[in-house]
Amino acid sequence: MSEGVIIGGWNYVIAAYSITATGLILYAWSLVARYRRSTRDNED
């Protein structure tokens, strides 16, 4: 009946979305932190 059909798999979906969100958040955070540090250094 369900041959050839993938049952479940939400753990894979959650993993893919979580890793994507984490990657984007960490990069955005690092970007803002580096930019602020660089702006401060430039003013000094």
Binding site: V5, I6, Y12, V13, A16, Y17, T20, S38, T39, N42
Partner: protein, 233 residues
Amino acid sequence: MKPISKWIHVLGITGLVLLFVGSWIGLFVAPSERFMGDVQRIMYVHVPTAWNAMLGYTFAFAFAVASLWTSRPKWDSAVTATIEVSLLLNALLLVQGSIWARATWGVWWDWDVRLTTSLIMLLLFAGVLAMRSFVQDPDRKATWTAVAAIVAYIDVPMVYFCVRWWRSLHQVQSTPETVSSSMILPLRMNAFALLFLGIWMVVYRARLETLRRRQDQVAEPARLASVGGMEDV
């Protein structure tokens, strides 16, 4: 230096909201696919990531040509920024693809032509940024970065067309005619979301590069003076 325009921040926030709503629709509203079931929901983040990574590299190529043509530092900053942001998307693309492959093909990785060319794309552009970090002279750094980015870009059309040119486990590109209309909305929302977020990141990263160049310009005469002083001793 002028502060970053408020419109760039508006674009970033719009991207964030769109990504949240698009993912919500993709995860909980769109129907599950007939054969892949819920695993197919990875598509709503995987495909937009792929589109934007390749779009970013295409802009990096255009900025590299402009950098070589004009020798203006702003194009060099743009090349560096677009490559770095595209590398992030490229890395996420490979991880998402690997997870999807495990769920559908039963393996985390296969040396399939689409997967291999995508990995080569990541390594080539990572190599461009690595090479850049070893060059001190700003003019030479800009020239070498632009040339390396243009050479690396050769792989990008191969990533896109390889599934048509060679036999691949990876499916060929879908079109609006081959995808259910209820799946198109979250796909497009996330595509624009990553585009807007990508633009926000590129603008920030390009500004950062410009700031660093200014700091180097200030630091360089001081460094040369200290080296000269040492030689005098």
